[in-house]
């Protein structure tokens, strides 16, 4: 392959990525406009179901990963800096609340719900179900897309704080048990370190990540045309693009928060 060919392929890939990102953004805007439809019972049911699948069903996984992560961080801190209560709280806030919490919660949601939403909508497209809805005067943007985007975003925000809570409190509890660090002193240090700003950054990340993941999943799901083989491809694209966008946006938000 010549250099120009590689450049062309790369250029096309990047361009396609931006076209898809713009499409997902347009879908998210459409969904935002359709938010008042949540007052309608059938739409609300879809919203609640999405919260159940994305949020409630992921609680165990999130708790398990949070606990292990919290313990791993505390162990690392204890091995590097000794058994000090000063540093553990600060590092947990810096690492878990600001960075890893939003990122891990987003990755779990991408893996569980991003694929599921893209595959579900893709199958509905292949089976003509989107056309059946349209024939009943029910738009996909209002009945299928908006409640899913709203549900995934709400769930991600809840999971994010649950993950942070589990990682921080679980990590502190385990460290006090394993390394004899006083739980109360660590908690006081943590409370002194944790600021409203840290929580706001976390909130913004959760909100943006949720929108990005759900919009990418819905966009790729609804792009499926007539073939069932397109469904797994749509799910894969949704996951990859959501992952890239989440990592890039995470970098930007982190950078902006330090400026």
């Amino acid at each position: 392959m010549q250099k120009t060919d590689i450049a062309q392929v790369l250029g096309r890939r990047v361009l396609t990525f931006f076209v898809h990102a713009a499409g997902a953004f347009a879908l998210a805007v459409q969904a935002a406009r359709a938010l008042p439809a949540l007052a309608q019972r059938p739409v609300r049911v879809v919203f609640y179901r999405q919260i159940y699948f994305t949020g409630v069903q992921a609680l165990f996984v999130v708790a398990a990963i949070g606990l292990v992560l919290g313990l791993a961080i505390i162990t690392q801190v204890a091995s590097l800096a000794g058994r000090t209560t000063d540093l553990t709280g600060r590092i947990l806030v810096w690492v878990v609340v600001r960075e890893l919490g939003p990122l891990f919660a987003a990755i779990i949601v991408i893996a569980r719900s991003g694929t599921a939403v893209a595959a579900e909508l893709g199958s509905m497209k292949v089976n003509d179900e989107v056309r059946y809805l349209r024939a009943m005067g029910i738009p996909a943007s209002r009945y299928l897309v908006m409640p899913r985007i709203a549900g995934v975003t709400t769930s991600l925000l809840a999971l994010l704080f649950f993950f942070q809570g589990t990682a921080v409190l679980g990590g502190l509890a385990l460290s006090s048990f394993l390394f004899d660090l006083p739980f109360r002193a660590q908690l006081d240090n943590l409370a002194a370190t944790l600021s409203f700003f840290d929580l706001s950054i976390s909130l913004v990340k959760g909100l943006v990540f949720g929108l990005v993941i759900a919009a990418a999943a819905c966009y790729h799901g609804l792009r499926v045309r007539r073939s069932i083989t397109e469904v797994p491809q749509a799910a894969t694209r949704a996951v990859i693009e959501a992952l890239i966008l989440v990592v890039v946006i995470d970098g930007f938000i982190t950078l902006a928060s330090f400026l």
Binding site: R41, Y132, G137
Partner: protein, 214 residues
């Protein structure tokens, strides 16, 4: 119109008419529905519903016009991740804000008129549509369309591939339902003329070489 077979197609069906619309192939039938629902692009020409050209109205308006129309799909036309009961109630809950309790009697009455066995009804309604036989899906889909009390009822190949007694029940339901609302238009759409032979109709439009002639 994009479909070759529909390039010269031009016809209208008035209010209150029971019409057999016979296409030359399943492909033309499918394209006709795609054009009606705006899910296929048109090269030229227009499709009008309730006197309004769909090409000239907003998406919101088009959807509002579609909600005044009911389609009985040959495959049931259900959303696969909703139970049949939720599927049947979806349009009336979405457009009219009805509650499940307020629809129950009407749904059961419609299913009785369609000849669905009373003993089978609870099981059918609590199932996902994919678990039911196609004949049952079609009858239940017909109940969903009828529940909206539409001004236009379209039967898409609805009388094809049914057992004789089920077809007779669906035919008598279609005739009864047509008479229930003054001005209601019923369109029996099929590419198989035999499947519609025993249905009474005011108008028969037959596609021949792309044109629809009476």
């Amino acid at each position: 119109m994009t479909a070759e077979g529909l390039r010269e197609a031009s016809f209208s069906v008035g209010a209150g008419v029971a019409c057999k619309l016979l296409t030359e192939s399943d492909l033309d039938l499918d394209r006709l529905l795609h054009l009606l629902l705006g899910s296929a692009p048109m090269e030229r020409g227009e499709v009008a519903l309730f006197g309004e050209a769909l090409g000239g109205v907003s998406e919101e308006r088009a959807l509002s016009l579609f909600s005044r129309m009911g389609i009985v799909w040959s495959g049931g036309g259900f959303v696969s991740n909703l139970k049949v009961w939720e599927n049947i109630l979806l349009p009336v809950m979405y457009h009219r804000g009805w509650t499940p309790a307020s629809c129950e009697v009407r749904v059961l009455d419609l299913l009785r008129r369609l000849g669905v066995d009373d003993d089978l009804v609870p099981g059918y309604l609590q199932s996902l549509p994919g678990a039911l036989p196609v004949q049952a899906q079609r009858l239940l889909g017909c109940a969903r369309a009828a529940l909206m009390d539409p001004e236009i009822m379209i039967y898409e190949s609805a009388f094809e591939g049914l057992q004789r007694d089920v077809r007779a029940r669906l035919e008598s339901f279609a005739v009864w339902f047509h008479a229930q609302r003054p001005g209601r238009t019923s369109v029996y759409l099929s590419s198989d003329e035999q499947s519609l032979r025993s249905l009474p109709a005011d108008l028969v439009l037959r596609q021949e070489k792309g044109r629809f002639d009476e």
